[in-house]
Symmetry: C2
Subunit: 303 residues, 2 copies
């Protein structure tokens, strides 16, 4: 697969919703839209989403008056149809059962593999936004309860006046190459034998390139240079944005740095290729992740 | 200036501190370090930092027992010297006066222009981290007060157990070109005659590339394709990470989309070059910003 095709096929990218900024800025119109017969609900929980039974498609249930206009979270307009997000964790058992009648629940990872790019992108967006609302009901500045404004793209504190916007955490993930080998580690708590490229959160006041260099040093004591951006992937577990890089390692034996890894080592090309076919002593990350994309892209290039 | 030189010279990049992950994970060692004679304080307020008088250098004041170990924010080690961050907004007038004796205060923008890259990067890091602590004293999940852990790289809620990490907001900023013209807008509330390339926050579940396409459509009703990453810049106002892109515009007349701009139009190369020399009817963004870097990089390329 050519590199560009690999990157374009990344799961969780490609949501195609109109965010409807004008509509969402008008609470009266939002309320009318939430009560309209066109309104549909997209449901997600902590780590899973609701799919149509037997179809590779997110569930879209008629709202049928279920929405409270003051707390409705408008995802956007899909070819004119208003889609609202519903947090499955916030529903009682009978409400949830009624909403999901005839539907099935899939983990986000399963959904990312099974769905088309626009559907997977919508799953990522709905999950990320609902995750944020679920864990941000209070004002970080003063501790008071916050209210939903902008139909769910903001929460506001009526006590201290602070505005709160959905949070997205930039994370770097990097394929580090040295003489036709790549650096991979086994994360503490990961499945036995699972190795992946290194990753870490971007710190305050840091560029992604700085973060690539710092994280590889902290985790493996390998110096890297020339980090080059490849592609990005939303990773709503709960709200990350993975920024994929390639970088050149200075060589030397990696050493576990900061305790996040159980093991870290260089893997030669033929071993990585064998693992990609499922014929090695170790496993690569799943195809849903940009980690696997970076690895397959490297394998696809002539050495 | 070659493109790579332009990008490397970006203000606010290049902090060179060891974050000292092992040290900060040990509260006893952090307390001893905060009380040691080596400890130095770097001071920042809401939008400004303290500099040495007469030198292009951040102030580093001996801590002299001023730090409370339970709330000390360790920025990191600078050639072995522990640097702690102090929020000027949290000090009383006399404490602040004593701390700043012989120092001067500069806005972050001034500091970004005046300081070397490592010093400007440290200013950005200290400001971003102190901004976050100032506005995140309470748990967004349950509303209780949070405590500082990991010597300032985390806040934890002892009531519900939630972990909170410093927030960094990814923002795309994009130079859109069409037939040797670039798209710039004048933002509502900006100084009269100031035009810049467009920018906007990355939404949940969205890639930066998606955000480039969406934002240019929302703000200017121009279709763009082939967004390509150029470079990034921390922008601690209060906690953004600017992801700089170039993209190709489909042409057509831009129209103000969502009300964030007062005006938006195509600017031909000769007009942008004149503005870069200060000889046009409009002003470009200041040299401290990645916006200006994207513009100068485009000007430096042969058409």
């Amino acid at each position: 697969m050519p590199a560009s095709t690999v990157v374009q096929a990344l799961p969780f990218t490609g949501a195609q919703l109109d965010r409807a900024d004008e509509l969402r800025a008008d609470p009266g119109r939002v309320a009318a839209t939430a009560k309209s017969s066109e309104a549909r609900l997209v449901a997600a929980g902590l780590g899973d989403v609701a799919l149509e039974s037997g179809k590779p498609r997110l569930l879209r249930v008629p709202a049928d008056g279920r929405l409270d206009p003051s707390t409705a979270i408008l995802l956007g307009l899909e070819a004119g149809v208003p889609l609202f997000g519903v947090d499955l964790e916030a529903l009682g058992e009978s409400e949830r059962g009624e909403l999901l009648a005839g539907a099935r629940r899939a983990t986000l990872r399963e959904a990312g593999m099974e769905l088309s790019r626009p559907e997977g992108g919508l799953a990522a967006y709905a999950s990320a936004l609902l995750n944020w609302h679920r864990t941000h009901r209070f004002c970080a500045n003063c501790g008071a309860r916050t209210v939903i404004v902008d139909a769910g793209l903001e929460r506001r504190c009526e006590s201290c006046g602070a505005h709160h916007f959905p949070r997205t955490d930039p994370v770097v993930i990097m394929l580090v190459e040295h003489e036709d080998r790549i650096l991979m580690g086994s994360r503490s708590g990961a499945p036995e034998g699972r190795y992946s490229v290194l990753a870490g959160f971007v710190s305050p006041g840091e560029t992604p390139e700085d973060a690539v260099i710092r994280e590889v040093w902290e985790e493996a004591r390998i110096e890297v240079h020339d980090p080059a951006y490849v592609a990005a992937q939303p990773w709503p577990f709960p709200a990350s944005l993975m920024l994929g890089f390639e970088a050149v390692g200075a060589g030397g034996e990696p050493v576990i740095g900061d305790g996040e890894l159980d093991d870290v080592r260089w893997f030669p090309r033929q071993d990585v290729a064998a693992a990609s076919r499922g014929e090695a002593w170790f496993q690569l990350p799943g195809e849903v992740s940009i980690a696997r994309t970076l690895i397959e892209r490297w394998l696809a290039r002539a050495p």
